[in-house]
Symmetry: C2
Subunit: 222 residues, 2 copies
DNA sequence: ACCTAAATATGAGATATCTCACATTATTTT
DNA sequence: AAAATAATGTGAGATATCTCATATTTAGGT
C-alpha cells in the first residue's frame, strides 16, 4: 500500500470529490491509498484503521469458513465503502478484502473521525442508503442461492459478466463465488457448450445463443 | 390490523418507549398497530405506508422467486425495523412480512415523517447500526448456505431454536428457511434420530445428545 | 530460462438433494 | 360435524453436486 502525497493525492481528490458526502471538512483528514493488484485492503479478522471509500479498481470480499472453504461474498466496486461495518460495530469480525486490480481508495482514519462521522447527518444518510442497497443485494443473492441450481445461477453470472459476448472469468474465483466445486462448474459449462449456448475458445467462452442463455438466467426483479 | 387508540395505545407507548431513537417529537405521529397471527404487515410487492418498529411478537420475511419457490428469508423480532428499506429507496421491491404470533408494531406514517426521519442524526445512527447488523447476519447466512450441507445448517438451526432441549418447528417453514425440499429435511432429521442425536416424540424432537449436535452445527463467529 | 505455485482439465464413484406419487393426520372453515 | 386445507410421513427413482486422484498448462518470481 502506498499513501499518496502532494500532486498524486491532489489529483485523485479533485477527480473524485467526496466533500458532498460530509457536512464537516474532510480534506484535512482524508488520505489517498494506492493498492497493487492482489494486496489486501483488510486482512480477514484484523480490525482496520480506516474507513475506505473505493474510487478506482475492484476488490473481492472473502470469508473463510470453519470448514476451510473460502466464500467469495461480493465484489467491491467504485463508490463502495469498505470498513463501514467496523466503524459501526467494534466487535465486528472483518471480512478479508483483496484487490483484483490496482485500486485507489480514499481513507479516513477511524480514530480521528469516528465521532464526527457518526454525528454527521449527511454522511449517515448516505451510509444508510449504501447499507440498504447492500442488504438488499445480499438478500437477493442469498435467496437465489437457495432456490436455484447452478445451471440458472451460472447463466445469470455469465450474462452479467460477459463483455462483447465473451465470458472470461477465472473458474477458481467463480466457483468460490457461486459456492460450488470446481468440478461441477466445469460440468455445467461443458453442458452449456453441448447445448449450443456457449462455445469454448481456448480459455474463454463465446456466447452463441444469448436469448436461450437469458432464459436460463434468473430474472427476479430486485 | 387494528390501529390501537387511547388506553391500549398509551399502554404500549409507555411499555416500549422509543422517543430516544429520535431527536424530534415522535409522540404526535406514532401509531400502535396490532396484528393477529397470520396477518401480513407488508404484502409482497406492495409499498408500505408506514415505517414499522416491531415491539412484541415475531414475523416471517418472505420472497417469492420467479420459479415459484418461496424463500423464507429471515425472522423479524422485537426491536426490528420493518419497511426501512422502502423508506430509503422508493424503488425497492417489498418483501412479504407475515406475523407468526400476535404482533404489536409502532408505526410511523412515511408520508408525514420521511423528511424528518432522514434528517435526524439520532435516528439515522440507530438505523445504520440496525442495517449493519442485518447485512452482517445476511452475509453470514448466505455464505453458510453455500459452504455447508443441510446436516450442518440444520444442526445449527435446531440448537438455536430448541427450548428446553425440545425442537418443535414446523417442517414446512424450516425447509423454506433452509432452502431444501421437505423430503430431504425429513431424511436428515431421521438420520439425526438414527444417530442418537434426537428422539422423535409425536410431533416434536427431543435433543438427546447436545454436545454431538453442537459439533455438527456451524460455529463460525459472526 | 528455470522453477514453482496456481489454474485448467477430466474421469470415476460417492452423496446430497430433488421430484413426484401417495397416504395419513391436524387444523381451519363452513 | 363435515368439508376443506395445511402439515406430516414415506418410498422410489432421478439429478445435482462433491470428493479425490491425476495430468497438463499457465503465470509469476528469481
Amino acid at each position: 500500500m502506498q499513501n499518496l502525497q502532494n500532486e498524486e493525492k491532489k489529483y485523485y481528490l479533485e477527480l473524485y470529490p467526496i466533500q458532498h458526502l460530509f457536512s464537516f471538512d474532510i480534506m484535512s483528514l482524508v488520505e489517498v491509498h494506492h493498492f497493487e493488484r492482489g494486496e489486501w485492503i483488510i486482512k480477514e479478522g484484523n480490525f482496520p484503521q480506516y474507513l475506505y471509500f473505493l474510487i478506482e479498481g475492484k476488490a473481492k470480499v472473502y470469508m473463510t469458513q470453519e470448514n476451510g472453504k473460502v466464500a467469495l461474498i461480493s465484489f467491491a466496486q467504485p463508490n463502495a465503502f469498505i470498513g463501514e461495518l467496523e466503524l459501526l460495530d467494534e466487535e465486528y469480525y472483518s471480512k478479508g478484502v483483496q484487490t483484483m486490480t490496482t485500486t485507489i481508495c480514499l481513507a479516513l482514519p477511524i480514530l480521528k473521525c469516528k465521532e464526527e462521522l457518526l454525528s454527521d447527518v449527511v454522511f449517515l444518510r448516505y451510509l444508510c442508503t449504501f447499507l440498504g442497497n447492500k442488504t438488499s443485494l445480499m438478500t437477493a443473492q442469498f435467496s437465489k442461492s437457495l432456490a436455484y441450481p447452478l445451471e440458472n445461477r451460472l447463466a445469470e453470472f455469465i450474462v452479467l459478466s460477459a463483455h462483447n459476448n465473451i465470458y472470461k472469468e477465472k473458474h477458481t474465483e467463480v466457483c468460490d463465488y457461486l459456492g460450488v466445486s470446481y468440478r461441477h462448474l466445469l460440468y455445467v459449462l461443458a453442458q452449456f457448450c453441448e447445448q449450443g449456448l456457449l462455445e469454448k475458445r481456448g480459455r474463454s467462452y463465446t456466447i452463441t445463443n444469448m436469448s436461450e442463455l437469458k432464459k436460463r438466467a434468473i430474472t427476479t426483479s430486485v
